[in-house]
Symmetry: C3
Subunit: 427 residues, 3 copies
């Protein structure tokens, strides 16, 4: 693995590559995005036909767009999809008309409070057309006739999502899920995709305990589709993380799973606290990203969500100001580092049983004290052995040991390895 600063730059380069594409909940923009991701980690791409029943929902028609613009009487494009995928209302039905500005206004979306920014708007389930533009642009338009054209198609097709699996020692799975349905928005969620990609590569190099499944899918309908098509596999999903808004300059925020005390919740809280990063841990709410679906009461999976500044918490959210300059290599590298630390703890958080639970076993006889001889942290390592022995009653995991003892998780895990190798504990 390259050093973190280099990884940050690589992630930022990936964000910049994906940025111009016009993604939506279906269509070729998603496919093109997944093709880029596939260059980094091999993907299995799934195409689910329009009309497929998925839980309470139905896969919608596929939307594709080739061009869209508003042109003035001289034919000059005053709003042009080619300049930014945000300019067209997501899932706009096709239109080709000429109309006065007064009539056109009902189809125009701006952000008066940020007159230079273009908002991001969609209308997935109600057929409409529209354009998003800067308030400044709108203010500069003279009254008069304009040509409006959206060259889009809404037709039976497919919903596209992809998976990448890092095989583990056990079939139990950890899922990492990112939404890939937003057009030219960097923090929401190209940064999350980039962190997921480099997280997958890092895990592959480490032969993890769990099997890690990365899901790249459109928000809501994509997660629902994945859940609907994996009903028989859900029992294997032991933990999970939704990655979103992973690259802005804010502190990290972990949002707990609906359970509130799932193992992933405890791991993230521990890692964020132990690392002494400024951070927030917030309670579950049934609003946000696809944790809404994974944590719906029928599934109730132990899936939390890691962001920097969370959903809707920054003014640039869902605007053209969420561009590649808004996310930094350093912030993405920091998010990635926490994910790696968290999965490193999760992966080693075994419960052991002390095989010599009556009195302390004689560690000296087994060379377990000697083994610490030259180490500067010998005292801490010895305490970790005593703590692991004390709490290895089948009810406490190594994270419990670390939290109760106040010792670093790595020290505790190393002590457990030594005791296991000495035959004193077993998983």
């Amino acid at each position: 693995m390259a050093p973190m600063t280099a990884v940050g730059e690589e992630m930022h380069a990936l964000v910049e590559r994906m940025y111009p594409l016009c993604r939506s909940i279906t269509g070729d923009g998603v496919r093109a995005t997944l093709e880029i991701v596939d260059e980094y980690v091999p993907l299995r791409v799934h195409e689910v036909p329009t009309g497929t029943q998925v839980l309470d929902w139905t896969v919608p028609q596929e939307w594709n767009i080739r061009d869209a613009y508003i042109a003035d009487a001289s034919g000059k494009r005053v709003v042009d999809f080619a300049a930014s995928s945000l300019h067209v209302l997501g899932y706009s039905v096709p239109v080709s008309r000429t109309m006065p500005l007064s009539e056109l206004r009902a189809h125009l979306h701006t952000l008066p409070e940020h007159p230079g920014w273009v908002p991001y708007r969609t209308s997935y389930y109600k057929p409409e057309w529209g354009f998003c533009l800067a308030q400044e642009t709108l203010d500069a338009l003279p009254e008069g006739e304009y040509e409006v054209r959206v060259d889009s198609t809404l037709a039976d097709g497919h919903l596209t999502y992809a998976e990448h699996v890092v095989p583990g020692q056990v079939a139990d799975e950890v899922i990492v899920s990112c939404h890939v349905c937003h057009p030219s928005l960097a923090n929401d969620n190209l940064a999350g995709v980039a962190v997921a990609v480099f997280l997958a590569r890092a895990l592959a190099a480490e032969k993890p305990y769990y099997t890690y499944r990365f899901i790249f899918a459109p928000g809501t309908i994509g997660a629902i589709t994945w859940l609907a098509r994996n009903a028989e596999r859900i029992d294997r999903v032991k933990h999970g993380l939704v990655l979103a808004c992973a690259g802005d300059s804010g502190h990290l925020t972990y949002k707990r799973s609906r359970r509130g005390d799932a193992e992933i919740d405890r791991v993230l809280r521990h890692v964020l606290t132990a690392s002494e990063r400024p951070h927030r841990v917030t309670e579950f709410t049934p609003y946000g990203y696809d944790e809404r679906q994974y944590c719906s009461p029928g599934f109730d999976l132990g899936v939390g969500s890691l962001s920097r500044t969370p959903y809707a918490g920054y003014p640039e959210y869902h605007t053209s100001a969420d561009n590649p300059d808004f996310v930094s290599p350093e912030a993405m590298a920091d998010t990635l580092a926490v994910c790696r630390e968290a999965f490193s703890v999760l992966d080693r958080n075994r419960r052991y049983v002390n095989l010599s639970p009556y009195g302390e076993p004689q560690l000296g006889r087994r060379g377990l004290y000697d083994s610490l001889g030259g180490r500067s942290d010998a005292k801490q390592a010895q305490m970790a052995m005593l703590w692991v022995l004390s709490l290895s009653d089948g009810e406490h995991g190594l994270l419990d040991v670390a939290e109760r003892s106040g010792l670093p998780f790595d020290t505790v895990a190393a002590a457990a390895d030594a005791l296991r190798d000495a035959g004193l504990i077993k998983a």
Copy 2:
């Protein structure tokens, strides 16, 4: 229902009507009081014969009093029961004697620290006679001979209590219990009786979910008698509230049931907190009013107690200063309002099961988003629907939803109604 200020005046008028009567744990004063109450809400009056075994107790002889006084040598009544029912020791045995003041003093009760006030004293289970008077009155009495006369009877008769039932949709009951055994004391407990009466009238207008049973009974022995005679019905009592000291100017105080986390405890805490009233919530103690009996360990009912300034917490407590001026229409109206809010929450605090628990159901398809279109609180109402869906797993009630989400209970309950009507949840 009349506006609150008018209701407050009506309650105060009721207090003033009941005030002069000489109530005790038995006797005609209780009957006369219940006759007045019956003018407001129809009562079923129960007469339980002297000697009846009730739990560990026995219904005592009935006490009635016609006259009582201390007269000086000139025949002038210096202490006169006709002026205040407090002047005679409750349950005084009859006496008709002449004796010097020096001998009489052993039978006189005063409050030296409040020389103008007459104390309230009783001797239910030990045969005694006595008078209560102001220290000032006593100080003004010259030594000499006095005629003392208590024209009372202690004879086999009955203990009297009454019930009023507001029928609900289910047989499960909420009991509201007030003691009616205190003579001319306004806050303790005529204010409680008045609030109970108008609470019953308000509930009757609302077709409540629960059946609400109002119990007007003498303290301790009355509650014990009710419990003894309703052993087969106790299982129906799901919640309850003892009303006492409901009209003084202090903040509201809710005393938890013995369970400490009964539903009524959670409801009162929620309503008092959400209403932003200054208030106190105190832990259960086995002393106070008839929650002592309802919460005795064999019953352990979910019955709390609502007061303003609690039991013995104000200097006027159990003195002639607890007169109708001590209680206000505004304070009684406030107590009534909190009772109504609390029962409104309790009545709607259902547990629902999400019938579409795998992923979020598509609310838009069912018009549940559209229905919010014109509302100023559309966003809050939508969040409430998501919260109800998320927590409707059969283990969480709507109060849980309100508390965990931070949304107003009314918003949550309305969301649950909409979801139930759409067939997405069921109770």
Copy 3:
């Protein structure tokens, strides 16, 4: 029992008698110590042969020492075991050689940060020889040849420990355990031994409920030996306390059992808090004294540890400065007093069942109010009766009653006695 100040002086005199002896985990120093203890409370002494398997350990060879010194070229003893048992490394193998100081240094232990103090060092399980001396003494030694001699024997023999039992009304046991393996160190642990001795004498005078078993044994291997040889009796051990560092001038420290909320933990916390002594209650750690063994996960006994300044928490710890001047009669008397208070609570902490649980029983009829007539604490005693009745549901003990009511434990226990005598509750 003599007044506390006298008891303190007696305990200090006992510390001074035991102080000069050279104790270790085996050998005649332990036997001589136990002979002194036996003069105060009769002991049953156990001798366990070398080589006996005890849990994961093996009883080691017995170590005895007659003489040890370092002499200079003139034959003058510059370090002499006769002056202090600390001067020889515990379990030193015999040696009789002449060597230059440069070579001898590898066998010398000092405390450079306290140049006037002699450290305490051992090498139980690795054959070594050595001397402990003041840094000042070492600094004054000229280079040159020295005679070094340790006249010790390490040979098959026995491990010695002893028990004293105060019989109780029931066979359920409370163990009190003190380590007796340290040589001339007063606070660690002669003060603990002295407190245990006088605690045993005090308990014997009180006909306690529990059977109290005092264990005087070498640290670690002694406790392990006791546990190994009492496997069939362990189920009887309901509670326990390890006494160590019981005589210094610091505040009392109670270290919880591994369970954290064992009854002994609650009792000590209650007694220390109720007594308004400055004190600390610390969480369990698997390091310290023999609570490590009693609380190992296979046994997981409710055994806490009471110290003043705990293990390694004072600079004099494991040095010659931990001499009889370091411990005071007052401090030992205070530790003893807390032990007596704690066992007094523990001994009376019964769970009762209210035999009249429906409504309040009529206390007046049974004379339970009258009995309080002349008492200044009549109100408190009455409240205690109501609380005991309220919580006597078989799930709450008298300590629960005391803590929930805020009443003194003695008042609660007296109320329970009165109610039990009246037939209202039973254990």
